[in-house]
Symmetry: C2
Subunit: 219 residues, 2 copies
DNA sequence: TGTACATCAGTGAACGCGCGTTCACTGATGTAC
DNA sequence: TGTACATCAGTGAACGCGCGTTCACTGATGTAC
């Protein structure tokens, strides 16, 4: 038994029961679908509640407003993605197999178009609010660090080309390539093509070009 | 004198007077500022009209709704940018000076953060509407073609690295790098840093890495 | 060039809907013994 | 384990604001002669 009793107690002193946690999770899950389908700017609280099967009162019992829910949604998913990327990079032994690692990371990053849609909505939001953009920048920094660490551990095996000399620069370029391919994917909806194209780009950025991979063609 | 009389006549048969054209331009100009400042999803027709100094009736006399105005706004600016990029690429003689061309194109593409904000709003819109995305894809194809043509004309002078063998691939990579750097710029607001970083990325993509440029550092 | 006229662009008031926000209430959930 | 009780989560109705949309009207603009 905890001091606070079986159900636990949040920082506010409010008792957090199972029911409450379930409702919150249901609202978040439903909101994700609605945001992905219609875009943050075109979604009402009413729609989220309807999709989740609650009344608007339930919403206000759990969130101060749409912005807060949107932020919580982003934080939750971003955390998940960051963990998956770290896992994908940790799979190799001490030696880095660049093509294999590129494949694994690409699969994780371009797994879910809905997430890319929501993330881009969030970007648009962040671009006008320093508070929000800080959170997004931290997420990106975290991804970058994971990539840079992995590259640094493997230096000597695969030398980076001259223009992107440091592992930090290379990791930065990886994220930029990811963002660039995301835009293309959002427009043409071709997930398989986007993955092939991202692999090709990452290979171009991380190798000196002397090793020609099997050509992936885009649709 | 035209057959239609001094004032001209639109396809609908409606007489297009100077006054009407001016009002439309004023609404578009004001809308651009408002969209850039608040984001498409948070803008009302009322706000646009107030910013432009008209009543809502004037708005409906010129546009069917916010979407139509937004689309017109995008088309107008995209056309402008496409022309500027073409000009920037046409400046060299028959030989291509890669670093100089990269510099000029970078200046044009990352000139105006407000435009990048509006363009990203438009992307979010397009990602959920094939009709709209077609227009954005066409704009991108146009930029790509301009770059690819320039590269193709210059082949032999500057050999592309192996992984991005064709001029089309290289042009595609240029656009992806532009999009990637745009995201970074939207988040940190550092225009100068973004330009330096885009130059570095483009150099890495378009050269074989043997030519080390003066190192640009990001903020 | 000037005037009389027809048409059109933009006005501003009015209507009503969608939805954000609140709140008294109920029954679900966890607690104490 | 079972029961009585207290508290809290979610309900659903109500209120009212913001704003999209319409429209009869006016005065600005272009046309005819």
């Amino acid at each position: 038994m905890t001091v606070d009793g079986v159900a636990g107690r949040a920082a506010t002193g409010r008792r957090v029961t199972g029911r409450r946690a379930r409702t919150r999770a249901n609202l978040l899950r439903a909101a994700f679908s609605v945001f992905a389908a219609k875009g943050f700017g075109h979604v009402s609280i009413e729609e989220v509640c309807e999709a989740a099967g609650y009344t608007r009162g339930a919403f206000y019992s759990n969130f101060a407003g749409l912005d807060e829910l949107f932020f919580a949604l982003y934080a939750e998913r971003a955390e998940l993605i960051a963990e998956q990327v770290s896992s994908a990079l940790a799979l190799d032994g001490p030696d880095l197999d660049v093509p294999a690692a590129v494949d694994r990371v690409t699969e994780v990053l371009l797994l879910d178009r809905d997430w890319l849609l929501v993330k881009t909505d969030f970007l648009v939001h962040a671009a006008r609010d320093p508070e929000v953009s800080r959170s997004l920048l931290e997420h990106r920094a975290r991804l970058r660090r994971a990539v840079a660490d992995r590259l640094a551990r493997a230096r000597g095996h695969t030398e980076l080309p001259g223009v992107l000399g440091t592992a930090e620069d290379a990791a930065h370029a990886v994220v930029a390539a990811y963002d660039g391919v995301t835009v293309q994917l959002l427009l043409d909806g071709d997930v398989a093509g986007a993955r092939a194209w991202l692999k090709q780009l990452l290979t171009a950025l991380l190798t000196d070009g002397s090793t020609e991979p099997a050509a992936h063609r885009r649709g």
